[in-house]
Structure formats: structure tokens, C-alpha cells
Amino acid sequence: MKASRAVAQKAFAVACIVLVLGLQAWTIFPPGSRSRDRHWPFLNYPMYSRANHRGDSVVMSELRAVPCGRPDTTLPVRASVLRIELGRYWDMMRRLSRPDTPQRLLDTLSRLTRAGIPVDVCGVELWRQVLILEQRGVRLEESPWTRFRQWTIEPDSSRRSVKPSHQ
């Protein structure tokens, strides 16, 4: 009785080992640069795997809202303002920086911006800071923020949509 219990306990342990290490090994092979996130907590670890070279640029992006009637003023639109997670925020900015921004994304951005900012907003802008990798690394002081793209939000809040005005 005691021996059969010990065998059962060991068989259970072997099953756990095979399952856990098997799933983890299955997730990490073949190695590459793409994340396989859907099987969390069994993940691969490809972060920071892309190589960079001298001359490449580090691009930082920031969303800013333009209050109605104050075209020279901008308010930062951070992930917390939009009530979205940082990863989704950065993904949104990557997609906004492309020339063919989908209308659906602009609609979502408009809706979230209006919901998150207390003042009436008539425009959204994408600002960028570009740092070049030079021989001695990067120099922050030579990299000012510049406006990269902008969109107009319809003043009628019930329509909740944006129109691309200038790219």
C-alpha cells in the first residue's frame, strides 16, 4: 500500500515535470524575434533581440491634444489619460506614425481622448524626438521634440470621429 502510494506520487511528479518543461521548451523553439504571448505563463523571451547599428535612430513618440480655441497649446495624452496599458499605447503610436493610419484607429483615439481629457479637444498631434546612434553613443541635448503628424477632431462630440487634416 505504501509502495504503491510512493509510485503514484512519483508518477504524478514525472507528469508535472514533463508537462511543465515540455510546454516551456515547445514555446521557446524555434528562437526568433517574435513574442509568443498567448500561452502565458509559458513564454519565449525574445526581448531586445534585434541588432542595431551606428547611424540608427531611437524614436520617441508622444501624443498631444489641442484644446478648442487654443491652437498654440497642447496637452500631453499619456496612456493613463486614455486608460489603456502602455504596450497598447506604444503600439497605437507606432500605427499612428505610419502614412496610412486606419480610420478605425483614429476613431478609437478620438473617443478615448475625449473621454480622458476634461477640456473640449479639437485636435490630436503626434510629436517625436529622434536620437541618432553616433560613434560615442547618443546625445539627448541635440534632439528636440518636433510635431510629426496632426489630426482634427470634429467639435461635435456626438459624432466622435476625427478627420485627417495634415500629414
Binding site: 524555434p30 524575434s33 505563463p41 525574445p46 533581440s49 531611437v58
Partner: protein
Amino acid sequence: MRSVLRALDWHFFAPQRLSDLALMRIACVGATLLFFFPLWSQQLYLSQADPILFRPLPTLKVLLLPLGTWGARPSAALLHAVWFGTWLTGAAALIGIWSRLTLLLFAAGNTLLIAHRYSYGELHHPEALLIITLWLLAASPAGVVLSLDAVIRRRRAGTRTGCVGQVSAPPVESPLARWPLRTVQWLLVLAYLSAGLSKLAAGGLDWFNGYTLVYYFAEDALRWGSPVGFWLARQPELASALSIGAVAFELTFALAVLFPALAPAYVVWGILMHGVIYFAQRAPFFQYCVLYVAFIESFRFAWLRWLRQAA
């Protein structure tokens, strides 16, 4: 073939101190409760996020299946109950009362809360191995010693036999005490191997040119405001040396498992590496430092060796 199986059997099931496993339980549960427990404010914030953002992970769907429909979004009230229950079961698992059950509920609760957090488009890596480890501990005799269960068991046995205080203590070693620790060690090996191989596969030898890490230091320093990261982003030669050291660590970490005498050196190397990553890039992989407790036996042997040499 038989010799390989015998070697594997010894590798995973050679008798080990039950107290090593119990210390792993105390370290993992204690650190989770103190430092890594999901914030209620974040769970509430996410439960009120725009429904369009909710994309449940399969793990969350499976855990919520007994409570509702497949893929349903958990309500704030349900999350609050799970959060509170998980905290209570964690406290019980830490002191070791009804250890198996409380460890199981603690693992399930943490998995549900973190899977919920990662069902809104953003996913991070630090918690994954610790979550798997909590499940492994629940499946093992992690509460047999250094627990209230052990005290209660001794008392009851003493009362039955009528000689309180003279009842034999639980066994010091068990063949079932090693496999969870070994599995955690190999999970760490696989995670580091994935990181190292991904760098070689995606970046090749260019990954070591110094500018690769300078780029990542600059990007993260700008995002998170790290002075150490800014400084390192101006040191391509140092960045090149750090990149060689990081990949060497990741690709050879298996040596810490295969040659236990090397484990203390690898653990120190790992803590230093994660420290630099945190201060330069604000990427908090402190959970891995807790998981290094799985190498406790190697540390004990190294300590005994040092004591012998000193004597």
C-alpha cells in the same frame, strides 16, 4: 537507455532536504505577498477599461470557465473577491496551514489576476516563471516541514499515542523534495536560453557591436527616466562588453544545474545582471532572484566546503 533513465531519476528524485523545498515555499509565497502581489487598484482600473481592449488570454478563459461562459470578462466584484481570497490563502500558505490546498488556491488566484491584467494588450515577462513555480509548489510536499501543518500533525500524533513530545519528527529528506526545485532550475535555463538564442537568431554577431545595447539603454532611459541608462547610452565599448557577458550568461546557465559547484557563481552573476538591467532599463526581473532559492543546496555545499577549507 537504462543508464540515462537512472541518471534522470537521480537528477530529479535523489533525496533532498524537505526544508529546502519549504524554504522555496516561504521565499516564493512571501515575496509574492510582499512585493509581487497584483495591485487591486490596477485590477479595478482594468475592469473599467473600454471593452474593446479586452482580449482574454486562454489561461484566463480556462480559470474563469467554472464561474461563467468561455471568454467572459470578469466583473470588478468577482475580481475583488478573488484578490481578497488570494491574499488570505497566500498568508495561510506562507505559514503552512492546509498547505496543499492553500498553495493551490494561491497559485490559481495569482494566475487569474495576472492573466486578467495581461488580457488588455500588454504583457510582461517577469511573473511567468514565478507563477509556474507556485503551481509546482502546490503539487509538491512543500508544506511538510517548517509549517503549522507539521506542528499540528506532531501534536495530533502525540495526543493519539499519549506521549506528547516524544513523537518522531517528519523525515528530514525525501525523494519528492528535489523535483520541484530541479524543474525550477531547468525553467530558468530554458528562459535564459530563449533570450540568448533569440539574440543570436535575430541579431547575429551584430548584437555585440555595442550600438545594440546603446540603443536599448537610450530607448528605456528616455521612457523611464534612468540616469544610469543615459550614461551607459554614451559608452558603446562598455555596452559591447556587457552584451557579451549577458549572452554568455544566458547561453551557459545550464552549467549551474549540471555542475552544482558553479551555481553560486551563476546566481551572483545573475543578480548582478538583473541589477544592471533594472538600474539602466527599469526592467524589474526581481522574481528571478527569488527563484534562485532553488539552488539552495548548492549554496549549502559551497558554504560547507568553505568552512572545511577555513578550518
